[in-house]
């Protein structure tokens, strides 16, 4: 539902371009789960993601006159949000060593809880509809955060937000070839990371 454009979106955008905050807020209400979701997956921290989301919407409102309707409004918002999330990440977490330490700590966490949780997860059907355990969710999130920023943005925009390669190339000011390479490297790395957490994965769900 969220991936579809909002009804009357063009009119709301036009009114926002004339400075109507109320109209823009209707767009915010519709798109905030997407924007916050992307910020959260990129940054891994709810508070920071909330700050970035708020800043992104303010920036979007300020710059809405520059939105020309070429790409989808969703892609335009995600471009702003992902750029702001990247700026924040670079500014705050300048030391990759820190996050690596954090990761190895995470690797050593006992997984008995995870195995218990796994037992009652009904994951053998359609993987798209599977319910991820809390542990698996945080493992995937950790895996995302250990990706280089450009790969993380490409993977989040592609696999979580469902943008096309073209939209991602547009958002990140790169070529489609670069996007393709970033996505595949990001996925490969994430796969390698998740293999280390095989005990968290649903049964019969090996990433070979």
């Amino acid at each position: 539902m969220n991936k579809l454009a909002l009804d009357g979106e063009e009119e709301l955008i036009a009114r926002s371009q004339r400075g109507e905050v109320a109209a823009f807020n209707q767009l915010v209400l519709h798109y905030q789960p997407i924007v916050y979701g992307a910020a959260f997956r990129l940054l891994g921290d709810p508070d920071t993601a909330a700050d970035v989301t708020q800043d992104a919407f303010i920036a979007a409102f300020r710059g809405i006159s520059s939105y020309r309707g070429g790409s989808s409004f969703r892609a335009w918002l995600l471009r702003i949000a992902s750029n702001m999330a990247c700026d924040h990440w670079r500014r705050v977490r300048r030391h990759p060593a820190e996050s690596l330490e954090f990761l190895t700590e995470e690797d050593e966490t006992p997984s008995s809880e995870a195995l218990n949780a796994l037992a009652d997860s009904s994951a053998e059907g359609n993987p798209e509809e599977m319910l991820l355990t809390q542990e698996l969710q945080s493992a995937i999130q950790q895996g995302l955060e250990q990706l280089p920023l450009d790969q993380r943005v490409a993977v989040v925009l592609c696999d979580i937000e469902g943008l096309s390669y073209e939209e991602i190339a547009d958002s990140t000011q790169t070529s489609i070839g670069t996007v393709r390479s970033r996505i595949s490297r990001g996925r490969g790395r994430l796969r390698a990371y998740l293999k280390q957490h095989a005990e968290l994965l649903p049964r019969n769900y090996r990433l070979t």
Binding site: V21, A22, R62, L132, R180, S184, R187, Y205
Partner: protein
Amino acid sequence: MAQENQHLTTEQLSALLDGEVSAEEKTRWEAHLTTCQRCQQELASLRRTVALLRALPQPALPRSFELPLEVAEPVALFAGTRQAAAPTPLRAPERRRQDRSYLRFAFRTLSTIAAMIGIVFVLSAIVPALTRGGTSNSAASTSASSSYGSSASSGQVPATTPRITHPPEVITPSIRPAATPAASQVNKPAEHATTPNANNNQPSTGNWPVFLFFNLSTPEGRLGFGILLFVLGMMGYIIFRRKRARAP
């Protein structure tokens, strides 16, 4: 042939997964996949990785990110002229309020004009009666006011006709036959009245049509129409005046 035996790279498989490949690549790579177990496994593991990402739930929103209405300020700042930032913030709501007050002013003016026109109509019906009717003018105006519309009784119409400025011998026959059935009073005089009025020097009343049940070529009709306009105009004036007082 040689390429079909070459294993696919992760990048090729990843792009294939997303359908972001050309038709030619797709057929060539899929041909290889059907024969190569190793590439099939790699594709499956990539697909599972993507499925895990897609299965991630949307995190719960900590709060709503709607903008406060004062955020209009940075818009003005962003739009350029920094020195104009102070007066412009209020621009959007202010303009809307002004638009609304203009609208109210227009409605109030229209109502006033309607009331004025109503008075003119009433006067145009009464004044001739006053000038001609002399002492019995009050009776004329009351009978005229009660005789507009279809509720007029046939007895009242002849009572008012002599007081019109028109020569009585011309106007009376045109009204009398129409006045007897109450229902046809509205339409019939219009047809008949045009011919006699064309002969005398009163073109202003001559060609007026039947309008909203009021035959404007008769003083009763004009009086009724005038009163209606006046009442509507006053109502409009009062309504729009009160709204204005409520929102200073």
